[in-house]
Amino acid sequence: MQNLWLIPALPFIGFLINGILGRKLSKAVVSAIAVLSVVLSFGLVVSVGLSSGWGEHPIHQHYFTWIRSGGVDIGWDFMVDKLTMIMLMVVTGIGSLIHIYATGYMAHEEGYYRFFAYLNLFMFFMLNLVLGANYLLLFVGWEGVGLCSYLLIGFYFVKKSATTAGNKAFIVNRIGDFGFSLAMFLIFITFGSLDFGKVLSAAPGKPVEVLTAIALLMLLGATGKSAQIPLYVWLPDAMEGPTPVSALIHAATMVTAGVYMCSRSAAIFLKAPIAMETVAIVGLATAVFAATIGLTQYDIKKVFAYSTVSQLGYMFLGVGVGAFSAGIWHLMTHAFFKALLFMGAGSVIHACGGEQDMRKMGGLKKYTPWTCGVLACASLAIAGVPGTSGFFSKDAILTAAYGHAPWMFWVGVVTAGMTAFYVWRAFWMTFWGEYRGGDAGHSHDHGHAHTHGHDDHAHAHNHSHDHDHDHGHSHSHDDHGHDHHGTPHESPWSMLAPLVVLAFLSLAGGFLFNVPKFLESMFPLHEEVPNEEMLMGVSIFAGLIGIALSYFMYVANKELPGKIRKALGGIYTLVYNKYFVDEFYDATVVRPIIEGSTEVLWHGLDQGVIDGAVNGAGTGSRSIGGVLKHLQSGNIRSYATWVVVGAVILLITVGMNGGLIR
């Protein structure tokens, strides 16, 4: 009998120890606790997998009744089936690797214990989300990971941009959670339960309109958590957090929760074709939209952030066209290569001493060969080069999309080409050519192009002022730029080892894990699509074109990008500024709310109506009191007599009206 509760409990224990005692513990102990708790959890997942035939025989465990009130009966139930198994493996496996990576990456940070406490708490909530056997438990995890995300984005809380980004992530997610809550209410009203088993088995018999409403509300929740249009805006800003956080939370695990939820609720979605169509379109639109923005960014983490948004769009496309298993497959492979990309980016940033602007990198391959190698693997995978993991999953989605609607396939292929282009653009800019960083004079002026997520890297092992980092890391950005002349360096092995593992998985993940086959019992395989080889060829071709084009533009012919930029002019500015979406939201949503509440609620309602009523009441009572004050003799016995007289009158009145008649 496997105790499923131990899986989330171990990180939680780690959180408690590190959170409560961490300040007193040495860094070695803190990291040992944090890493061990997650690795043990991973071990437990593996043992659960072995004993249950990797989810072949679903496990369902009831621990205690959490809420029982009226018709609501919600237990603390965990369950493991194949879908959960995949998520568990991804979350704990990649989580372990990233924890190991983070011990190296965060080694010189203040608040080391705090970071790992949050990270462990995140693992707890994420595992809760994945293991929960009803929507409310899923929601608990959902909100919990949101909280941890907020805490970790704002990890450098002395930096205003970081706290702002944290707030943004939290608030934008609230909109999505609102949708999800409504979906849960609707589910409860419709099905009378929140248990997955009961809800999903009863779903086919319910009216389509209700199911569509539920599915659309869930989609709203998913767009918040998984950064889809229109709520994707928080994810790029979330790169303010430390890079391991970006890798774990904002690339590999938390943002995929929306995909997981939709797949989990497949029974509902399958009965709501309109919702499915919406999911597919939202996913596709997000994929294209984010990819175009990704083409123009210079901040290496921003590029990968938009890439994440885009790839999540792919997953939703897969879900929307009914290829749930393909979506999950892409979720998994994406977790491999995107975590790798971020961690590689972290390694690069680390090497450059906190620099994130790709224009100040270049030629790093000779300084950081390992990083270069693993990033190449990841880039190959995301570009969909045949044989790599990304190729299989992406191809599965595109094929399914073609079966659903051919135009979706073509848009997807174009997006794939763009993806390959911008990822390899980043790769070439970073590793090829000459090292452009370190020359004095421009280390001050790159702040406008990207957010300041690199303060977390403001350290270097061979640094002359290593010691005062503990006091001043958060404002050491500029000092840092100067100190870092010309000697990018390879990262320590605690960081590189996880990268190598992930690189292997990125390349071979597609062969190793045939997810659609594995999930066949849950999600039937898609029917055969005609011309499959042709489609495959097209998508491979798109990816190779993207790679070639990027090589052409950023390695062979370096003047070309500038020319194109000039030629496109307005369009380039539009895309470079991310289509002004933030500004658009600011103008259409944020400002009206502020203005409205100032004008209507404050000046109008509060000062006008409420204050008026209060003042009026005051004036009125004063004038009435002027008359009544003659009654107030200040004599207690008079008052008592009045009370008695009143009581007598009251009793007589009641009696007259039948109160005293039996």
């Binding site: 107030q632 003799s633 200040g634 004599n635 207690i636």
Partner: protein, 112 residues
């Protein structure tokens, strides 16, 4: 009312209404004391008398309905009365210290 029937009844027990009537009488006496007396402590004691009268009717009702709830109400009334006595007497002490009088008719600063 037939006297003979009444006597027969009284041989078996006391009517509940007598207890209630006693309670009413005591309550009225308490109110009378409250209205008529001027010593603040006596007035306070008359409040206690009223509370006791009410307690008696609670107990009588408890007996009538064979429920223990009436006892609990009485219990709570007693607890509240204890708290009230503690605070009230402290207030009386303070009042006496400041004004050297216990006559409630002279304690009327809130007038007008």
């Amino acid at each position: 009312m037939d006297p003979q029937v009444l006597m027969q009844t009284l041989g078996k027990g006391v009517p509940t209404s007598w207890y209630l009537a006693l309670s009413a009488v005591l309550f009225t006496i308490g109110v009378a004391g409250f209205i008529l007396r001027r010593n603040i402590i006596t007035v306070f004691m008359c409040i206690e008398l009223m509370l006791n009268a009410v307690n008696l009717s609670f107990i009588a009702f408890a007996h009538e309905h064979r429920q223990v709830s009436g006892h609990l109400f009485t219990f709570f009334v007693m607890v509240v009365a204890a708290a009230e006595a503690a605070v009230g007497l402290a207030i009386i002490l303070t009042v006496f210290k400041n004004r050297s009088t216990l006559n409630i008719d002279e304690i009327d600063s809130l007038k007008n």
